[in-house]
Symmetry: C2
Subunit: 214 residues, 2 copies
DNA sequence: ACACTAACTTAACAACGTTAAGTAAACATT
DNA sequence: AATGTTTACTTAACGTTGTTAAGTTAGTGT
């Protein structure tokens, strides 16, 4: 038949146009700053045309962030080169920080806002836990490798809680910077310094000290 | 004269009524969930009456958070009892975490959202840096005490960057919990555990180890 | 030739933050 | 005592928002 396929392709093309327009606005204006009407205007469609492709505003921007989340995992995959497991974790941390500081609006929407009642579809179930598509899973695997290599203190036996602590460390620095970095109330040290100290402190707190045998 | 004073008192009474109504709604619905009209309805005034007392929605809720920020400093002041500087810091951390988890909507608005262009008025300038009213200043003073007592590693010489790192640690755990704690994507460990590990890791990373002389 | 599907438009709804204009009562001034 | 001024508040309205209901219109299947 082929005609059905063409129609589907055409539909997903306008879907992509919507996503691209939304992304561009979103990057500079953030979620609250972008209206459905402006997205529509940008691609010269009527505002309601978007609702053919996405249930509502949230779903549209959630799709955007879903893409970024997968891209982050890809960057992990392709950039984390070191064979030393602790070095790998540090690289993951730095890439994550770089992502957050470069894409503050995406970061805000992805990790600083709740999106309740987003039940998982089939695609999600495939993605989840897969280190190639799921950035958290990538982190967790690296934590497990470091743990297997006996690099963490003995008491720290749960890869999940270590991953979540590492995540919280970098997230703490980034999200404070994004939300309050321009606030003159606090005499902020340069973000680079805060990142460096946080990384140093966290890994010192996690790692088995050299003299302890494994 | 006295009449001027009475009028001022009356005005600040309705101002407080507005603040109380706003607080109650805000606690359960969050910033985006509360409208000026609902606040007005609650105190049986017209929506525009609020604008006599506050410039806009943001200023109203900023005032609310300003109150909470001062209250947090008071709780620090009255509850942090330990004489050991590291213990004091740990207590500060726990109180802060408790505050965030108990008041997620206030926490979101205070520390997970930007409020740009809020220039400081006279009252702000009094408050800032005063440990009795400024929670960050309280933290920083405790950090300085621990530093003076030689409790941190030698390399860590800047009280500001240590304060900011400590803040980021607890903020990381709390804000991830608030934003993503209900997200089934991650197999979250109990928040109590995550807090405990974060505190443990951070202080281990910061403290001078016992055998090192001061 | 005719019915159907589905992507898209037009028009409209209710709710939002906010402003302009008016009211009415308390106060100050002559 | 009469007049003007201040001020806390109301009514009405504006422009914008996300979203829905009701068309329209073109291409497809029969």
């Amino acid at each position: 038949m082929g005609v059905k396929e063409r129609r589907e392709r055409e539909k997903s093309e306008t879907r992509d146009k919507i996503l691209d327009a939304a992304r561009e606005l979103f990057v500079s204006e953030g979620y609250e700053g972008v209206s459905m009407r402006r997205v529509a205007e940008k691609i010269e469609y009527s505002p309601t045309a978007i609702y053919v492709h996405f249930a509502d505003k949230k779903e549209l921007f959630l799709e955007l962030c879903h893409q970024d989340y997968a891209r982050l995992a890809e960057v992990f995959q392709s950039s984390v080169m070191s064979t030393d497991p602790i070095e790998r974790l540090k690289q993951i941390g730095m890439i994550y920080i770089d992502f957050g500081l470069r894409n503050p609006n995406h970061y805000k929407f992805m990790f600083m806002t709740s999106h309740p009642a987003h039940e998982m579809d089939e695609e999600d179930r495939e993605t989840r836990g897969n280190p190639e598509q799921d950035a958290y899973a990538f982190l967790k695997r690296a934590v497990e490798q470091a743990m297997d290599a006996g690099r963490f203190r003995e008491e720290l036996r749960d890869a999940e809680v270590i991953s979540q602590t590492l995540w919280a460390s970098v997230h703490g620095v980034i999200s404070l910077e994004i939300a309050k970095g321009c606030d003159a109330w606090v005499d902020w040290r340069p973000i680079k310094d805060r990142v460096a100290v946080m990384m140093d402190v966290t890994f010192r707190g996690l790692e088995r000290s050299p003299q302890e045998g494994q």
